[in-house]
Amino acid sequence: MKPIMKLTRLNIAILAIISFAVPAWAIDVETPKRCTVCHSASFQGLQPAPRLAGQRYQYLFNQLSDLGLHRRDDPNAKLFMWPVVATVNPQTARELALYLSSIPPVAAEDGDAELVASGREIYQEGMPEANVVACVACHGPNAEGVGEIPRLGGLAYPYLVRRLSQWGHLYNYATRPPMPHIASNLSPNQIKALASYLSFVK
């Protein structure tokens, strides 16, 4: 609760800005302002909250519904998102997802530059001997995702590291395969490399 209380004044300022910025047709003003508290005014993300801007519509909607049903259970989700999403109805979730997906994303570019090359190799080619598939097959050549498969390009390094590691801990297990199996085969170094590469992908 601390981070939220600290940002209360900022919160109000953001409210003011947001209430002009959000198109009236999209959603009621209340909902996105709550998101900006953690996800930043531009929805480009503010650690530990990930960037939402430019994320896939279907993926966003699925996350909101999985969070609402408590199927997604990684620690931060449980702590921060479960209470929030409890108040979001499906129609609002749809509108939110649509709105967020339309905002142009900005790459975080906060990974380790030296690991980018090896990360790219894992992403584009996979590691057949280690039975790790090439991420590109599902996430696309620019990590842009498609349908319910999320855009990974430009997400923040710490967030990617945490999420990739969590698959191996069986969090989020209720969500759709094959990620649990794929990511659970990745070593910590490989995760760091991947996360570094992805944080730079536009």
């Binding site: 996979g126 199996h181 794929i182």
Partner: protein, 232 residues
Amino acid sequence: MVLSFPSAPAGTPREGCRRRIVKASGLRLALQLAIAVVVFATAAGGAATKALAFSSHELAAKIAYCQDCHGPAGQGYRGFYPMPRLAGQQVEYFEDQLRAFVEGRRLNSIMSPVARSLSPAMMTALATDFRAFNPRPLGGDRRELAAMGEKIFQDGVPEQNVPACAACHGPEATGIKQIPRLSGQLYLYMVKTLTNFRKDRKEHLSDVMYPVVESLNKRQIEAVAAYVSSLR
């Protein structure tokens, strides 16, 4: 085989007899042991050869790896690229495609590294295992085109010199030997394959398809794809 030692004190004629029996028995034993060694060594050698190819654990891990992209039951998956159904595919075709990826007869930047990591024995094992899967089709698309697609598939389009697909692929699109099963294949994958056939496949076996795909127009390709994608 029993070694019998008649009990008799040493030095007696029976002892001499015993020694001879022991000798004879020993020889017999040695011979039998030798045969046993040879037999088991060969068997072990054979088993060892198989074990060198891969263990059942390795196979299971490899299947799970394939399933990551091709779906939990090999039914295919709509990733950024449509990943084709492998379930129920003809074994000969399956093996030949993997070899084609290795040899460059078929071009695919994702599958080439995958196929290169597989031994021939592994290719056969995967082909055999996926053949046995039988999930429902992932989901037919463009159902409104399926009727048109059925007509093309079963009757051909003689006015356009398009032969009936059924002649080679079978009336239920099950394929045979090196001719692939098409039933339940992903719509998007079928469209992509038929559209890019000559570009992606250089192998001598599939060049029979070149005149076919070149005689089909876009709508007909979509129709055939819609039809087969709905078949069980």
